[in-house]
């Protein structure tokens, strides 16, 4: 009989990952007792070629027409096995996977009996389900050959250039008035000590001039709708109060502005005007008026100052809608704010600064033109100390547990730079352990201690206070290698602050329906095999937005993300799972209860027939409407009522546990 349900069950050992705990033979024998099961087999690695061939052969021989594989998580290999079965003509939606690794053997490693019981139950749940499944066809949708990149730091810029060079349109949305990100604030970069601006600014110019890159600086993503291949994005172009079309970037307005405000770019170490560009090489070079400090005196708007009449105090924000097929999130990080670590008295004492502030002091276009001085009196410090792991690797509540991965290296970099300028300076670095893991990093560390004579002291500081006479900093701690208490008077203390997720990352996660990991950074789909994909198809992540990393890693990841997006766009179409809901016209009473449940506006209403209708292009397949319908007239493909109830009945038959 052609319609007879014949299920093939395959139990995977996954080497010892499953078979080391679970009695796979028992599971296989158990499978043979289940309804509709035609055959059951076990094999070392079902995902290997040989494992997949087992399944293919049985299908080709006509022995089975539905398949259950008991193995790892379906989130790992469901696509693999779906391809396997469809390659020999079986409908891929007649396949089901029982998770006996992540949800059984790996969480019950010391309870083989319990794990085996779970494995049998998970298996029979899927066997019961697969018997009820219906063949489905995937939907094929077109992919718009354009990409949205959120964040114009080194990661976002690299991804933008890679995609644009391949011919795709790129919308690069940057919330600040300039692109460049934190790399623009750095002076030199470890381990090669190339000047940050020298390698960054040409890229910024390339981005601005590329015909395929639509740079939207001083803009934010307001709304995202749609799905892989077809996102509609609303971008808010914040008003700069300076017309970019008319402005010639002559700088007269800045020159004449009478108001000053702290410059965010220099972390409060210098001032800027109310009309400003963050730093000389900013791209785009059009000034922005900061309306919070502007007094609207009208000087800059005067024709004698701004000849092209580009200043417009009445300018409004603009909302722009764009269509893209893929999205890359490259929103980067914020340096950790050490204010809450009271023991380091960052806010209290002038001569305690952060690593990022030191970066600005060392920069030739920074507030001191590259000659670091003490904020208290403007003199060059002679004795300096760096304190590592500020805000990182700390298990106190509210602190970050992770290693920020850049602070050891940047502290050594800054110390070396200072030594180059002041060879007789005395420099200490207080550390927990030095993490110099990248290419050329260990060598960099070696040179710092051997050739530069920087003193490395293993130990955290316990206390920091100011010497009343000259505002020097007295630090107390322990040298844990020598096991002696240590007290030092230094002219300046630099807190090597780590990096943390942006405060608006929750908002971004919600807009894009992507996830964050415990550390607050965006979560990748798989830590090893899919490190730049998010769990939402068509959305990728790059740079520090995904987790702490240095520039080489941020760039590498950006190239990966660009490649992921390009693959999708080059193919031009993508298959999506047909998990949309369908309405049974005969059962629908026309109550419209479902309509209010759908966040995507996918449910319409046929007034004439008095029934709900579903626009499958808009339906994302959550099934909430199906759960709501009082008449059970709506069902969600692949998650239909009888299919789900079969799982429950299947596992609880005979009272559950064996």
């Amino acid at each position: 009989m052609a319609d007879e349900i014949k299920i093939g069950v395959y139990v995977c050992h996954c080497g010892v990952n499953i078979a080391g705990v679970i009695n796979t033979t028992e599971v296989m024998e158990f499978a043979k007792t289940l309804p509709h099961v035609a055959l059951a087999k076990e094999y070392k690695f079902m995902c290997s070629d040989n494992g997949q061939d087992l399944i293919k052969q049985d299908i080709k021989d006509g022995l089975i027409n539905r398949v259950v594989v008991a193995a790892c998580s379906p989130r790992m290999h469901e696509p693999t096995f779906r391809r396997t079965v469809s390659s020999v003509g079986m409908n891929q939606f007649l396949f089901a996977q029982a998770n006996i690794r992540e949800h059984a053997s790996w969480v019950n490693m010391k309870d083989p009996e319990g794990a085996t019981r779970i494995a049998k139950d998970h298996l029979r749940m899927q066997v019961a389900k697969v018997a009820q499944l219906e063949p489905l066809e995937t939907q094929v949708v077109q992919v718009t050959p354009a990409s949205l990149i959120i964040g114009g730091g080194i990661a976002g810029m690299n991804a933008a250039l890679d995609l644009a060079d391949q011919g795709f349109d790129v919308y690069l949305v940057e919330k600040e008035p300039t692109i460049g990100g934190h790399m623009a604030q750095l002076d030199k970069t470890f381990p090669t000590m190339d000047c940050s601006a020298c390698i960054l600014t040409p890229k910024m110019v390339d981005v601005n001039q590329h015909p395929k890159i639509h740079l939207m600086a001083y803009s934010e993503v307001e709304d995202v709708e749609g799905y892989v291949g077809n996102f509609t994005v609303t971008v808010r172009k914040k008003s700069k109060y300076v017309d970019s079309e008319k402005c010639t970037s002559c700088g007269e307005c800045i020159e004449n502005c009478p108001v000053t405000a702290p410059n965010e770019f220099d972390l409060g170490l210098a001032k800027r005007k109310a009309v400003y560009i963050p730093f000389p090489q900013a791209v785009p070079g059009v000034p922005t008026i900061d309306m919070d400090s502007c007094i609207k005196c009208g000087i800059c708007a005067d024709k004698s100052v701004c000849e092209p009449e580009a200043i417009d105090y009445e300018m409004k924000d603009e909302l722009v809608e764009i269509e893209v097929g893929t999205i890359i999130v490259a929103t980067g990080y914020d340096p950790y704010d050490p204010t809450e670590m009271k023991e380091y008295a960052f806010e209290k004492y002038d001569n305690v600064i952060t690593g990022m502030q030191m970066e600005r002091l060392l920069s030739s276009y920074g507030p001191t033109l590259g000659k670091p001085v003490r904020p208290s009196d403007g003199t060059a410090p002679h004795t300096l100390a760096w304190l590592q792991c500020v805000g990182s690797r700390n298990f106190r509540p509210g602190m970050h547990n992770y290693c920020s991965r850049v602070c050891c290296m940047y502290a050594m970099k800054q110390a070396r730079q200072y030594k180059e300028k002041h060879p007789d300076a005395k420099i200490y670095i207080f550390y927990m352990d030095i993490r110099a893991f990248g290419k050329g990093y260990e060598e960099f560390y070696e040179i710092a201690s051997r050739e530069y004579g920087i003193t490395f002291v293993r130990g955290r500081l316990a206390e920091v206070y100011e010497s009343p006479d000259d505002k020097s900093i007295i630090i107390r701690g322990e040298d844990t290698l020598m096991q002696t208490p240590i007290e030092l008077k230094v002219d300046m203390l630099v807190l090597s602050v780590g990096v943390e997720a942006r405060p608006d990352s929750d908002k971004i996660a919600q807009l894009l329906t992507i996830q964050k990991s415990d550390d607050g950074f965006f979560l990748e789909a798989h830590p090893k095999l899919r490190p730049v994909d998010t769990l939402t198809a068509g959305i990728y992540v790059a740079g520090v937005a995904q987790g702490p990393k240095d520039i080489p890693d941020a760039v590498a990841q950006a190239k990966g993300a660009a490649s992921g997006a390009a693959i999708l766009m080059a193919k031009g179409e993508v298959e999506i799972e047909p998990y949309y809901s369908v309405v049974d016209a005969a059962k629908c009473s026309g109550c419209k209860a479902c309509q209010s449940q759908c966040p995507f506006g996918a449910i319409g209403f046929d007034e004439q027939a008095n029934i709900a209708t579903i626009n499958i292009a808009k339906c994302k397949g959550c099934g909430t409407c199906a759960a709501t319908c009082p008449c059970q007239a709506i069902s969600q493909n692949h998650f239909k009522e009888p299919q789900m109830v079969a799982i429950i009945n299947g596992v609880l038959k005979d009272g559950g546990l064996y």
């Binding site: 050992h13 078979a19 009695n23 796979t24 033979t25 028992e26 024998e29 043979k32 007792t33 998580s73 379906p74 989130r75 790992m76 992540e102 949800h103 790996w106 969480v107 019950n108 490693m109 309870d111 319990g114 794990a115 019981r117 998970h122 749940m125 996660a509 919600q510 329906t513 996830q515 964050k516 990991s517 415990d518 979560l523 769990l535 998990y579 449940q597 966040p599 995507f600 994302k620 397949g621 959550c622 099934g623 909430t624 199906a626 759960a627 709501t628 969600q636 998650f639 009522e641 789900m644 109830v645 429950i648 009945n649 596992v651 609880l652 005979d654 009272g655 559950g656 546990l657 064996y658």
Partner: protein, 156 residues
Amino acid sequence: MAKTDEKTEGNYKPKPLEKWEPFILGIFCNWCTYAGADQAGTSRMQRPANLRVMRVMCSGRVEPQWVMEALKQGADGVLISGCHIGDCHYVEGNFKTARRMPLLIKMLEQLGIHKDRVKFQFVSASEGAELTEIVDEFVADLKKIGPGPFNKKFKK
């Protein structure tokens, strides 16, 4: 690893469970809790062997009838779990279920079913540790309450 000489040939004979252990049916959304449960596995976080997991795309899909069906068929507890509010892959499916579940629990209570038998919890894709804790607690709670009212094998 199962040794060859231990292999049971031919018909399988189930070994009955001697002592009652709470049977918990978990209904997890694909994007957060199921992923979180995978993460618990990848990180080898150990938990008692009382949880069976069923996957839906979104916790919004969970029908109150399923919970009743599971209890009627003898489950001792049901754990429904999805993304945190604001994190739902489909914007607000979890919100719908978060509103539905308290009503269901109230109704079950009127039918004489202990309110602690049905739990609704938010677990994100990175909260394997939280999930493990939730299961630990749930098992302990159920052990206090005893077998479900419709558990065919083990009576209270």
